[in-house]
Symmetry: C2
């Protein structure tokens, strides 16, 4: 193994080739609980495309797998290391290369943090919409690799809608440029979107060209409190059926409401079965739009509907929603002390018309499998995160959690849904991907993987 490290040090310099055991351990995994992770041989921090290509070439020569990592905030294990891997960290690829306000594009290196891009383009009156909950720490490269979603996607779309072009280092060490800088373009196969969401299995991103929008309108925010989750689901379906277009439509169930209040009191009603958090862009119709949303929620059975009185209250409501994940982690830790509480963060999307059925089904599955499951999600997209609480020290609890996870996946597919709305496949859902796309679909996936990465250099074991 000496020669590989020597080659890497010669190409990148000693300070970008890291083998400290503590650091290697820190780079073993992303934020997915209960996924396998190995120990990398080395973590590299290349500073430009040529250095990335040098790392890929050296790893390929020595038969060492390559695992790309951004901020490791993923939730499916897609960034987890395997033993002996060469990790390519994008932490030294953090330059915003260009912002063009007329063509409304930005060109960035993959290690740029989502929030940093947002702040930079805001200075030009522009906006990069995709807003995963991890936006303050996750990177554009990671967002692209997982096709990240977020809260504003219900109106403004997910990451792939904003990626115009990519630069990618291939398994051969060659540098591929895909896509364009123009609004439209149909020159050849859509290689850009083949790489978006491919979770590091086809190449290493070294540059991303994204489309921007004009700065968002201010929004009006409202809350609807429901005595039952399926009533909230029915309200979401009716909102869609009426052609309303909220800029945000999130759901929090009682488990999450209580977990958030325990984690950090935000004034949410702990007795509510479910809460819908909605917003509309301002404009002359905003008050009417909000009233229409409120009317739908009331008709669907909400027992309280109220609007945020000011921007501070609206921001607090969004912040409460963003606390769902850490609050549930705390809830799991409180439920099973001594560090044994674990959280399986699921991610299923169904057609909006099936949202109520999915919510009812998750409640049934939680009861049948005897595990606590809280549900939070991007209700307006039909995208739910049933979060399953398990005791890692208790094999029976882990089994029940796994059974609940599988039942949720099965129900999602039965309802015409997908096994992952935004978190990706990673290690967590390989079997369910196979179930969803079927044997022909898997063969096509494998054929494309083999065409681009014939030796299986990149991120082995992920997705397929």
């Amino acid at each position: 193994m000496g020669p590989l490290l020597d080659e890497l040090r010669a190409a990148l310099g000693d300070d970008a080739v890291l083998t400290d055991p503590d650091l290697l351990r820190a780079h073993q995994r992303d934020e997915a609980d209960l996924c396998a992770a190995g120990t990398p041989l080395v973590v590299t921090r290349p500073r430009d495309t040529a250095q990335v290509a040098a790392v890929v070439r050296a790893a390929a020569r020595h038969g060492a797998p390559v695992v790309p990592q951004g901020a490791r905030t993923g939730l499916a294990g897609a960034a987890n290391a395997v033993d002996g891997a060469v990790v390519i960290s994008t932490s030294a690829l953090t330059t915003i290369l260009e912002i063009d306000p007329v063509s409304r594009i930005a060109v960035v290196q993959p290690g740029v943090v989502n929030a940093a891009l947002g702040a930079a383009v805001a200075e030009h009156g522009l906006w990069y919409p995709p807003d995963p909950v991890s936006w303050e720490s996750s990177t554009i490269g990671g967002n692209v690799a997982t096709n990240a979603g977020g809260m504003c996607c219900v109106k403004y779309g997910v990451t792939t809608e904003y990626v115009l072009g990519l630069e990618v280092v291939l398994a051969s060490g060659e540098v591929l440029r895909t896509g364009r800088r123009t609004v439209k373009g149909v020159a050849g196969y859509d290689l850009t979107r083949l790489f978006v969401g491919s979770e590091g299995t086809l190449g290493v991103l070294t540059e991303v060209t994204v489309a921007l929008r004009p700065a968002p309108a201010e929004s009006l925010t409202m809350v609807a409190v429901f005595p039952g989750t399926s009533a909230a689901g029915a309200a979401v379906a009716e909102i869609a059926a009426q052609g309303l277009s909220p800029s945000l439509l999130e759901l929090l169930d009682q488990t999450h409401l209580r977990a958030i209040e325990a984690y950090q009191p935000m004034g949410l009603r702990r007795d509510a079965a479910a809460l819908l958090l909605a917003a509309v862009d301002t404009g002359a119709h905003a008050a009417d739009d909000l009233a229409a949303l409120a009317a739908v929620c009331t008709a669907a059975g909400a027992d309280e509907v109220y609007a945020a009185t000011d921007a501070a209250e609206a921001a607090a409501l969004l912040q409460a929603r963003r606390l769902a994940h850490p609050a549930m982690e705390r809830f799991a830790a409180d439920t099973y002390p001594d560090g044994n509480g674990g959280l399986v963060i699921d991610d299923v999307a169904v057609p909006r018309g099936s949202l109520a059925a999915m919510l009812d089904g998750v409640a049934r599955i939680a009861a049948e499998c005897d595990v606590p499951i809280g549900v939070v999600g991007h209700a307006g997209d039909g995208n739910l995160h049933p979060n399953i609480v398990v005791d890692r020290a208790d094999p029976a609890s882990l089994d029940r959690g796994r059974r609940a996870f599988d039942e949720i996946m099965r129900l999602g597919l039965e309802l015409g849904g997908t096994c992952t709305g935004e978190h990706g496949v990673g290690l967590l859902k390989r079997e369910w991907l196979a179930e969803e796309v079927g044997p022909v679909g898997i063969r096509v996936h494998q054929a494309i993987k083999a065409a681009l990465d014939p030796t299986g250099l990149f991120n082995p074991g992920k997705v397929l």
Copy 2:
């Protein structure tokens, strides 16, 4: 070849296996002028997915190439037959299988005409936005295969933004299902968008699931008349820079204005160098938005700006824009009589900031190459159609036209653009695709083609 036809007749019935010479001739080509076309052995009209798979399997067994065809309204030769081909026409695959107003999706067979889908979803208060000029005759399958654009794309996006899932018959005869019925989904590689825009080279579409939007708002329409084309281009850049969001922003140059007026008088100013046609969605800010567009155009040098006084005038202006193509064909026929007038319909997209430079460049190229070139296009997207008029009977004219075409492509790439904004590569732009994506890009294209269609069964000679 007898056995192949016998197999096809056995699988589809005699009435769906057509060998009449006149009909074979009619299926030789799409609407692209000056592209090579062969004579198919047979035109098949399968009625369901199993019949499409049967045709593909039979053709593969006999080593006959397969060319899928929709309405043959394409403009790059992508649907042109090759000698001995088995054409798969989607003309008997015209069923709208499902419209779901709550989940806002439709599922259709590929031969459904764009306008027919539009009419069907309008009954549910819904809208399928992509609106190529050919919308009254072109099919959803063809729109997907070419990733068709249109006039509303400047605000609402092109075909690929609306395709959620596909059913595709592969070269093996297997049936692949891609994508989903949900708003969001990241399960595996984005195979859906790999097939969108692949111009029939990777498989035969048999079913398309599209996303729908609520019915569009009414719009307000305006016209700005410019004494120079580059001033119109500058106005478009400034509209983008100011963050304005017109729902339509089209450009017609003097050649087109005069051609349209000669073809069908619509009251357009024949003395204008260029005309911008813009619209905004109604709503409380519509009048302000229109005034802002008008102010930008005036500041950029427009010598007349006026709003359509009513819906009828607005519709007439859109109709005038839609006449650009037949009017230019007439203009070419009038310029070189005896059926010798030909039109090379080009399609280049540049970043909006480079639109004025592109317009100036096309004028320079027309003068240098001594060929008439009219420019029309989706200015708001930076997508222009320079239409080059040639005398098919005069090799020197054809040479000059070809030189102008190449110069336009070269300039488009120099300005950071793409060789095709919406018409596709087909036969017309294979060399320019290679120029645009480079040798690594072409190798990746070839690797993907080989992975999905190892014997080169589908649409040989197109794109690559």
